[in-house]
Symmetry: C2
Subunit: 215 residues, 2 copies
Amino acid sequence: MAQAENAERQGSRAGSRDEIERAILDAAERVFAEAGFGGATMQAIADHCGLPKANLHYYFASKKQLYRRVVERIFRVWLQAADSFESSASPEVALRRYITRKMELSRAHRYGSKVWANEVMHGAPIIQDFLETTLRDWTESRARVIRRWIAEGQVRPVDPHWLLYMIWATTQHYADFAHQIETLNHGPLSDAQWDAATETVCGIILRGIGLEGGR
Amino acid sequence: MAQAENAERQGSRAGSRDEIERAILDAAERVFAEAGFGGATMQAIADHCGLPKANLHYYFASKKQLYRRVVERIFRVWLQAADSFESSASPEVALRRYITRKMELSRAHRYGSKVWANEVMHGAPIIQDFLETTLRDWTESRARVIRRWIAEGQVRPVDPHWLLYMIWATTQHYADFAHQIETLNHGPLSDAQWDAATETVCGIILRGIGLEGGR
DNA sequence: GTCTATAGATTGATAGAC
DNA sequence: GTCTATCAATCTATAGAC
């Protein structure tokens, strides 16, 4: 009943507080991605979610805080993809699944990827602590797995870091440089093209470290 | 004599007009890279080259024009790297040389690479015509070369575009995400690490498309 | 909880003395 | 060609009516 009262008070057009916040975060993610933090304006974000500008300051105290919430949300998506790198699986399965998941994320969360890239390019003022803790721990943990594969003779000897950077770079490129890719492609990639690109990325990397078609 | 008069008139501290413009462009490249176009301020650029803010407007009419000049300069560096992809060479030599050159550029021109990435991520408002002409022509020309290699059985069958995107993504990642890499590495990459990363990138890609160590 | 109006701060750009 | 002072525009953030 308290819920219904609440909905009443909010008027008919508006959704719940969570829904409105999500709408604002979606709009902000897109505007931050396309204009950068400095180039983004609260007015543009308000326009993109059909809200009066002042309302944004009711839900989020400041532009900086809104930006921080956007970045935190992207971080959760990143963690989700990181989990798909299962150290218990074979190198073929683990890497193929991880690369595929990262490609899917680049397609589904283009704007999030761009915000992340912007944040890192600008020196990671917001997520520096995350880089030094969660990301570093995750990277070293997977590096150990890859070194184990190498010791077992399953994978050609490479520094795991250069391999991981290559996977991150290549998959995220399809989001961050989507505009360039779509210009060269005379339009957005089709489903078939996404599949082909994913397969090619998997193929080159797996074969490049000595997997698939062995020797 | 007219030259000496000119130097006289400019005062003792300042260099030639070209030197001052270059100093401004260097500073602008760095500030645009680290803050984005919207986040960059003329004041910050002026501080970075030790000039009063108003002088910037004497040499460059507007912030937008200064930005355009920075991007044009980066484009010339890009063209220089593109030339290292020699279609007359063997696939091993051509690709290894191109990748190596791109890695060198990522190391030498970190800020330029970031400005380029920013520009593309924001929809390439300035360089769109270049993407549709020079870049597209270059890409299709090299795609034809790669398809020829494939037809000759020298390279495994892959869509040349996915291969080129992979090379661009991986090499530019070392500039654009330098902050993340240096955080994970506990400091800048050493000469030996740059060499090792370059060698690993070459090795994985060449082997991934069936070159080096054949089968 | 929503919206209009505006205060307060920043910044791009220019005027004018030197 | 250099530098100080300042205008004009823009944007974040808030006040206050509804």
